[in-house]
């Protein structure tokens, strides 16, 4: 009995998660002192989301990976269905905010389906890859190509609907995850190199088109003006839109003025916009300085490292679990790097939250589902180890 209990007690993951929760709540508490959104207690709300999230993590432990593997297609289908539903929903339950229709806005609750679909897509991608691997033990160029097509298909479907919202940033996250999984699925280098070459040519062409002929590109690619603006911002600081420049300037001012040790709790001076969500890292930088930021980056690094090792260890007997880890790792990595990078000016400004730290019900819940999945992988790995050594 005591043995069984210990399977479910993954010390390292729990400690890491606790650290993230503490950092998140502290940062949101500080951001709230700017009184930009009077009346809402975001700390409390975030704490509630985390509690719900922990509940979900616990619930997920009731299923084993085999069951999840079998259910993955339906979960994925459900995720895509949500995206379609969102697009056809009337304004009353899915209001357009900032020109995008990304949210179900129910009274007292807003949900962003694309956040959940990220996890369901990762789950299904992991299943597809591991199923393919067991089917084609000997990989040939042909089987690899087939796998590549499968991965692309699974990814492109949700991306298509997300682009309709339109949400360019989130779409890029999907593509990044898919790319990482392609890399790690063992597909032949030749295909990957070809793919990378082809894609980068396409991307370069698109970027060139966007920058040189923004009006034409709106018609051909169908991206929105503000998205073009954001891409422009990245390439040419003199073309920045005033609102983006303003956000970025304040973000940098906040972060930079934190210096080495930060200003401490409740001493913020710069009214960073979206301080508790997209620009939470600026608040951390201002409050806790370089040290604080480094700690956050380190936490992420540890978590990613944990996922890499877990995936690697599970690979031989449980490739599904392993790809789950890699998928989730990719998700965390792209969010973390993009979000932190944007606050310090090495990435363009997008509305991508810092997972596990930024305020937001949908992102916290979906991330916690992801955590629940990899937690289960860790649990099964422990059981497996036990079994082996017995």
């Amino acid at each position: 009995m005591s043995k069984r209990k210990s399977y479910f007690f993954q010390m390292d993951l729990i400690v890491l998660l606790l650290f993230f929760i503490i950092v998140s709540l502290l940062a949101i508490f500080n951001a709230q002192q700017l009184e930009q959104y009077e009346g809402d207690n975001f700390v409390l709300k975030q704490a509630v989301w985390f509690c719900v999230g922990i509940g979900i993590v616990a619930i997920i432990q009731l299923f084993d990976l085999d069951q999840l593997y079998k259910a993955s297609m339906y979960i994925y289908g459900f995720g895509v269905l949500l995206l379609i539903l969102l697009l056809v929903s009337p304004e009353s339950i899915a209001r357009t905010i900032n020109n995008t229709k990304s949210w179900f806005t129910l009274p007292g609750l807003s949900l962003q389906p694309a956040e959940f679909t990220k996890i369901s897509t990762i789950l299904f991608l992991a299943a597809v890859i591991s199923r393919h691997k067991s089917k084609y033990e000997i990989s040939t160029l042909k089987s690899d190509s087939l796998l590549l097509i499968k991965i692309v298909l699974v990814t492109v479907i949700p991306v298509f609907f997300i682009l309709q919202q339109p949400d360019f940033g989130t779409s890029m996250v999907y593509l990044f995850i898919a790319g990482m999984l392609v890399l790690l699925s063992g597909i032949d280098w030749k295909i990957i190199v070809g793919l990378i070459l082809g894609l980068s040519l396409l991307l370069a062409g698109m970027l060139a088109l966007i920058i040189k002929l923004p009006e034409l590109s709106q018609n051909i690619i169908g991206i929105e003006e503000y998205q073009i603006d954001r891409i422009m911002t990245w390439f040419d600081s003199s073309e920045q839109t005033s609102s983006d420049t303003y956000h970025f300037d304040l973000s940098l001012l906040a972060l930079g003025s934190g210096q080495l040790f930060g200003k401490g709790m409740d001493k913020l001076q710069v009214p960073t916009p979206e301080a508790h969500t997209d620009f939470i890292f600026s608040v951390i930088g201002e409050s806790f300085g370089f040290i604080g930021c480094a700690v956050v980056i380190f936490l992420y690094f540890i978590l990613l490292y944990k996922l890499v090792t877990l995936g690697l260890k599970s690979f031989n007997y449980n490739s599904f679990g392993s790809y789950l880890c890699f998928g989730f790792l990719s998700l965390l990595l792209v969010h973390a790097f993009q979000n932190m990078g944007m606050t310090i000016g090495i990435m363009p400004i997008t509305g991508i939250p810092l997972l596990l730290i930024s305020y937001g019900g949908s992102s916290v819940l979906s991330t916690m589902i992801g955590i629940g999945l990899v937690y289960r992988v860790a649990v099964e790995h422990t059981i497996q180890n036990d079994y082996l050594f017995k």
Binding site: Q259, G285, C293, Y300, V308
Partner: protein, 704 residues
């Protein structure tokens, strides 16, 4: 098979290692860039945050008052309680709405009587904007993302406003309307500049309520604004001029001047008259408060940088009591002339008087009355003395004689026989006002107003010393006779600006047809036109032994005092400003003075019947100029003069243009007689009353 499997197994760690290495690199870049931002540049960012911005806000002070020469307040300030709004930087519509909502609990923008009228001023747009602010989320949804694309923000906003339906804005409560009215005023405010939200009819209760709650009303202040009041009502009001309202603000045509002198666009400034002329002393010094704001626009400190000081007071040269009496005289005479000879004097519409001290140029009274044919009523038109110019007729003969003497074309006591002059074959003769005056010299020519004497002077100045009846004149045009005579005239202020301290004056019209006949007319005041102010300066110059002084309306500028209606210390005295001394010898001037005296006091003098019995020893010259109005023959009747003859206290000019002619009466002489009487009567009354209580000697003293 085994081999393949091994290869596959080996593949993953290899790729993972690369991947993890890349992750490591990416995170290193993050840390590195963080180091640059936070450690290398951190101090700079902190400095930027600490940098504060200092701004000054200027709080208006009351304008200076105006007093007459006897210390009576003639232009005063009426304090008005005012609720003002001074927005901080970056205040948006939502904030203003908040302020308006709170403020609506303490003040009301209308009262029972004008409620309907005030509520009407709320436009549909006001209502829509208000609705928009209350329902921002909902309003924004009225414009889909697709439509918004390619629209300017203002266009988007307007489109949304258009889509707010009539029903939605039809059910506002009085309370809502009150808020709209207040917000309308708040919206006008410019950053850090006080804007009056309400100043008319602020009750003391409202003032007190707002003052008590200032802390919760961001940017609101309870202050006092001022309105001009005129204790003497209309008397002299044209000269005081007006000031702009806050809505009008500074004058557009002088905007740069004002802005460079520290005015704000909504400052009230002198728009005309003395208010405009003395704007820079009347305006006072605004209280300047230095606000320190940090980067977010929050005011973190405020201190008084410059103490405010209300505007300096003007002491005018005008005697309001005398002014009132003269106004009445001018009006009486004008009315009388028009009612007695309504047809004969049908073109007679106005009369003007200027009275001043010849030695100092102080203007004691300026009056002008005007009959408005359309409104059928008499109006104050004192400014006509400055801008309305007329042919003065014989009144300028003093200057002609002096020009003749000085140019040497006649010698003192030179005699000519006054009989009709015939120039050219078909001439029907140019005469004096009456056929033959007989032999006249320079003095009697003035006494009897001989045109012929002036014609001889003119002919000689033109170079024709040998008049033969019915011959054409042979003028030496090389010697520029017009130019020369105008030069002489201008020494008296005729045809040039008098230099009065007023924003505007006309210098008269100069004829452009240099013919010999016109030159003769010019010499008798029948050619160029002059204003009443110019004539007053001209006669003052003669009275003043040839010294032309600048007429002025302001005597002193006084420092403001905190005491009501008390004059403060003198800041600046407007001294007598001698513009020039005429070239003529004193002995020549004395001959003209004598001619003027005889015109008033000796039998045969043109004004003898009005002034012969006066004990104040007056001197002067009448004038009649032929004129026409709407094709009818009219006469301008004028009079210039001074008194007493030996020690002139006052000089004056009277112009009554376009009368039906002297056959209907002599309003010029009537006015002249009565204003001189008025002056000396008033002087006597004051002397008596000061004898009685021996305290009020102000006026005596100032006369030296």
């Amino acid at each position: 098979m085994n081999n393949k499997k091994k290869k596959k197994k080996a593949q993953l760690p290899f790729r993972l290692n690369i991947l993890f290495f890349v992750v490591f690199l990416l995170f290193s870049v993050l840390v590195l860039q963080l180091g640059v931002v936070q450690i290398l540049n951190g101090e700079g960012f902190q400095k930027e945050i600490d940098r504060t911005i200092k701004d000054t806000t200027k709080i208006p002070v009351p304008r200076g008052k105006m007093y007459d020469r006897n210390g009576n307040v003639v232009v005063d300030n009426k304090p008005l309680y005012a609720i003002t709004y001074t927005p901080a930087k970056g205040v948006d519509a939502t904030k203003r709405l908040e302020v308006a909502e709170k403020l609506s609990e303490y003040i009301s923008m209308y009262n029972k009587e004008n409620k309907e009228e005030v509520l009407e001023t709320i436009t549909e747009r006001n209502k829509k904007e208000y609705w928009y602010l209350l329902h921002q989320e909902e309003a924004k949804d009225r414009l889909s993302a697709k439509e918004a694309e390619g629209m300017e923000p203002a266009e988007q906003y307007n489109t949304i406003l258009d889509r707010i339906t009539k029903e939605e804005i039809s059910n506002f409560s009085d309370k809502d309307k009150e808020i709209m009215l207040i917000k309308k005023e708040l919206d006008k405010a410019q950053t850090l500049t006080p804007q009056v939200v309400k100043n008319e009819n602020v009750t003391p209760e409202e003032y007190a309520r707002v003052a008590e709650h200032l802390s919760e009303l961001e940017g609101i202040n309870a202050t006092t604004d001022w309105d001009r009041i005129y204790p003497f009502d209309e008397t002299f009001s044209n000269f005081f001029g007006t000031i702009t309202s806050q809505e009008q603000g500074i004058l557009a045509e002088k905007e740069e001047y004002y802005l460079s002198h520290g005015y704000k666009p909504n400052d009230r400034v002198g728009k005309s008259g003395l208010e405009e002329q003395y704007e820079n002393v009347l305006r006072g010094r605004k209280e300047q408060i230095l606000y320190t704001t940090n980067k977010e626009g929050k005011i973190i400190d405020s201190e008084v940088a410059v103490e405010g000081e209300r505007g300096k007071d003007l002491v005018l040269t005008v005697d309001m009591e005398l002014q009132k009496r003269i106004d009445k005289i001018v009006l009486d005479v004008l009315k009388n002339e028009k009612s007695e000879h309504p047809y004969g004097n049908r073109h007679l519409n106005d009369a003007m008087v200027v009275m001043m001290r010849p030695q100092t140029g102080e203007i004691l009274a300026v009056s002008g009355k005007y009959y408005d044919e359309e409104d059928k009523e008499y109006k104050n038109a004192a400014l006509r003395t400055l801008y309305s110019s007329h042919r003065p007729g014989s009144a300028i003969k003093g200057a002609t004689v002096l020009a003749g003497l000085q140019s040497g074309v006649i010698k003192p006591n030179k005699t000519f026989v006054d009989k009709p002059i015939y120039i050219g074959k078909n001439s029907d003769g140019k005469t004096s006002w009456t056929g033959n005056l007989g032999a006249v010299n320079d003095i009697t020519a003035l006494q009897k107003s001989s045109n012929v004497y002036m014609f001889y002077i003119a002919m000689r100045m033109g170079g024709d010393f040998n008049y033969v009846p019915y011959d054409n004149l042979s003028f030496d045009w090389e010697s520029k006779p017009f130019q020369r005579l105008r030069n002489y005239y201008s020494q008296f202020g005729l045809g040039v600006k008098t230099g009065i301290d007023f924003p505007y004056e006309a210098s008269g019209y100069k004829g452009v047809n240099p013919q010999a006949g016109n030159f003769l007319d010019f010499a008798i005041g029948q050619y160029d036109t002059f204003t009443a102010m110019q004539l007053a300066q001209y006669v003052s110059t003669i009275a003043n032994d040839g010294y032309r002084v600048r007429p002025h309306l302001v005597k002193e500028i006084r420092m403001p005092t905190p005491y009501e209606n008390n004059l403060g210390p003198v800041y600046k005295s407007i001294n007598t400003d001698v513009l020039n001394r005429i070239d003529m010898k004193q002995s020549y001037i004395e001959r003209v003075q004598e001619g003027f005296r005889r015109a008033f006091q000796e039998p045969g003098g043109t004004a003898y019947s009005w002034f012969s019995d006066k004990d104040y020893n007056p001197a002067g010259k009448t004038g009649t100029a032929e004129n026409s109005a709407e094709g009818d023959y009219t006469e301008n009747l004028t009079l210039v003069g001074y008194a007493p003859f030996d020690k002139p206290e006052i000089a004056f000019s009277v112009i009554v243009p376009n009368t039906g002619g002297s056959k209907y009466g002599h309003p010029n002489d009537d006015i002249g007689e009565r204003i001189l009487d008025a002056y000396f009567d008033l002087k006597e009354e004051r002397a008596k009353s000061s004898d009685n209580d021996n305290s009020d000697k102000k006026d005596e003293k100032t006369e030296e």
